[in-house]
Symmetry: C2
Subunit: 238 residues, 2 copies
Amino acid sequence: MVPGEPASGITMQIRGIIFDAYGTLFDVHSVASLAEEIFPSKGVALSNLWRDKQIEYTRLRTLSSRYVDFLRVTEDALRNACARLRLPLAERDLERLLAQYHRLDAFPDAVATLQRLRSQGFALAILSNGTPGMLESVVDSAGMSGLFDHLLSADEVHKFKTAPEVYQMGVAAFGCSAAELVFVSANGWDACCATWFGYQTFWINRASDPVEQLGVAPTRQGRQLNDLTDFVDRRTGS
Amino acid sequence: MVPGEPASGITMQIRGIIFDAYGTLFDVHSVASLAEEIFPSKGVALSNLWRDKQIEYTRLRTLSSRYVDFLRVTEDALRNACARLRLPLAERDLERLLAQYHRLDAFPDAVATLQRLRSQGFALAILSNGTPGMLESVVDSAGMSGLFDHLLSADEVHKFKTAPEVYQMGVAAFGCSAAELVFVSANGWDACCATWFGYQTFWINRASDPVEQLGVAPTRQGRQLNDLTDFVDRRTGS
């Protein structure tokens, strides 16, 4: 199927489905077991702070127009998280932890959900802060090769989410309006800001968190990736 | 003294000193005791999450060009923090907690430090995400009226830190280059991004945290506001 072309046999209101990568398809906290091995009893704390700092640095660098790529941001965030937790980080362990980002675990229902959507004729994409190299390797590692029509990296515009230029990449790739696309994220802030941008949005709310208080809400939410299939079935009338 | 004019008798390399407000001069966690009264055993957790969400929302709204003022952001952050912690927030308690932001405690050495700098002839300013009304009331409440030449609010540019447009307000107010001004913040990210902008910066690092890993460092750091006086003494050669 050509991306953007209606699938035959269904009333097509959705021209494509765009997934966030980290936290949505891939479990960023799957680094915690290696972190725990290196720093006993501190694995979860390190994993959480590493992720928080990673997100924070993407935002600060975008606000201040000081882009470096997501691999560098991820390394910087790891160094700071370790320093903040007073964990001495050997270079070799830094390399081992960073290498995990190239082979994060996919969430258990990710591959099956993507395959089902694909078999229904939906064009699929990833739109992520990750570098092209990071995205290719994590997709390959998870057995998702060939499932996506587009792997879209914020590296192309040298800004990170939630800059509109990043969300615009999905529109450009599919050649249709944001309202004809579904953007899927497990990061509540990403789902909200993508809604502001104009996408139909689906928030994978695994922890039953409240919606971010930003004066905007995702179009719909579910508890797992598989819940997305009901949403797009209803939208397409299939 | 006219802002920007050299003080007599010293070799003036600093044309003014600009302070961040929240977390730097005023203790945002002085809300914790009221929070504890309303939600026993949860006061500190609420205070911390409220602050984190407040900062997060300023960044998301600036990145996504969806400005609302800091009073609204502060209310939104409080509502979300309570929801996330599963704390039922009555409207009356919301109003009581928000009212605290107009009379936050100043850090113990804040007034004396400001008075000393002022007596040395330095022009002083606040540059903050807070609205003009929030800044005026918290300054008055802390007994700092008359100590500042400028109260500069991000509300004027409808962006929050760390957007360069916000830091630029200090330059515009003093009518000199950023390099001739000292920007003081206890928020490490604020001190780093102000350094990127071009200010001489002083980070009040009360918790002895590591510098944010952003490829830039504050010009200097200290443990308390009073440490700033050594820094500016050395710079001016007095």
